[in-house]
Symmetry: C2
Subunit: 202 residues, 2 copies
DNA sequence: CAAGTGACAGATTTCAATATCTGTCAGCAG
DNA sequence: CTGCTGACAGATATTGAAATCTGTCACTTG
């Protein structure tokens, strides 16, 4: 018998099986087979198939989170940082959609079931937006009454360019242009935004 | 034999059948049965089942288009007209989602197949946005280089609140608040979009 | 005794036979 | 002639029996 069976080894094997068969066909028995153990052993580490699937997705999202740290830097305006961040997110999602097709489909499944992993992911992403917007508010580049509400609004407004339900639309020739237009509109809005309750007008 | 079989009668019967069975179960034979004719007769008026389904949806969308004429009026700012229009659209979609559940599902199916009816619908909606934004540009309330691109951007930015893929999210308690935040951000953006000189921040 | 096994019950999926549906068309009735 | 019918071929959907999968647990093994 080789090394002890670790959670990490199971996750790696599951990812492999998921890539090969896709979320619809991958079974716990397949994972066990890939590891050369009985499926009962897998259940010693992960209580249910859903838990296993979520753990794999969590691992996958962690890599994306790593990538998605805002690039604050010398002489960059908050608007530039925000645009770059949103662009990177869009690029990353597009890449994942057609390169990690099967894992992406797993992620889409989780979104559909609105698991707490997804909730955590959304919280993380909106949190990064909050950081960027706060930085802009501090330099008076952006104006807003409530950074959290505004960060959520920016997330929602760019929904079409990161929500997996719209992944099929990401291949069209006009998408980048449409993305740019939305981001420009959003950035313009950040320069002079008030939440509804406090909204004055021109 | 009763009256002649008209396209209109077939559409009404189809809508009824669709409401009763839903898009997954409704068949052309069901429609013919409801009309007391053979299904061959239905094919005399509509070349395929898809054409029939699209015609019903077209009819349904026409009613929504009727409803969705922007309410320009004395003393209303373009921002007010825009917000009211978007709110009405959101309300109407939500209503349709839970009252006309089956027809809404048919519409969702069409969106998924990206038929030309949907394309027409989107064109119409973005066209209305163009009208509203143009009016705002004329009174210098809004600023933009390209009204069409901006109208599309407004449509995309509010995607989460009218795209049927997100219908399930429309029931949460926070949705209205999130909708308001996005609309406020968008309206703020329209005031300041792509302006080189003028009104410095704050 | 910690780590893994494999047989088991109930749930879910597969598969192939069967039934139904879509779309066509020759022909019938007014 | 015009509008409708009904039988038909091929495509699609339904169904139920068999196979597989999930999750459990008493038991082996080092």
């Amino acid at each position: 018998m080789a090394e002890a069976l670790t959670g990490e080894a199971i996750l790696a094997a599951t990812e492999e099986v998921l890539r090969r068969y896709g979320p619809a066909k991958a079974t716990v028995v397949d994972v066990a087979k890939a590891l050369g153990v009985s499926h009962g052993s897998v259940y010693r580490h992960f209580a249910t198939k859903a838990a296993l699937r979520e753990a794999v997705t969590k691992r996958w999202l962690a890599a994306i989170h790593e990538e998605m740290t805002p690039a604050f830097g010398e002489g960059l305006t908050a608007a530039e940082v925000l645009r770059a961040w949103l662009q990177k997110l869009f690029d990353e999602k597009r890449r994942a959609h057609h390169e990690d097709e099967e894992l992406f489909a797993t992620f889409r499944t989780l979104v559909h079931e609105s698991s707490d992993i997804v909730e955590y992911h959304l919280g993380h992403m909106v949190g990064q937006l909050t950081r960027i917007i706060s930085a802009g508010v501090e330099t008076h580049e952006f104006v807003t009454d409530d950074v959290d509400v505004t960060a959520q609004a920016v997330w929602d407004a760019t929904n079409r360019f990161h929500h997996p339900a719209h992944a099929r639309e990401w291949t069209g020739p006009r998408v980048q242009e449409e993305f740019d237009a939305v981001v420009s509109l959003v950035i313009a809005g950040l320069r002079y935004n008030r939440v509804p309750s406090a909204a004055g007008d021109a």
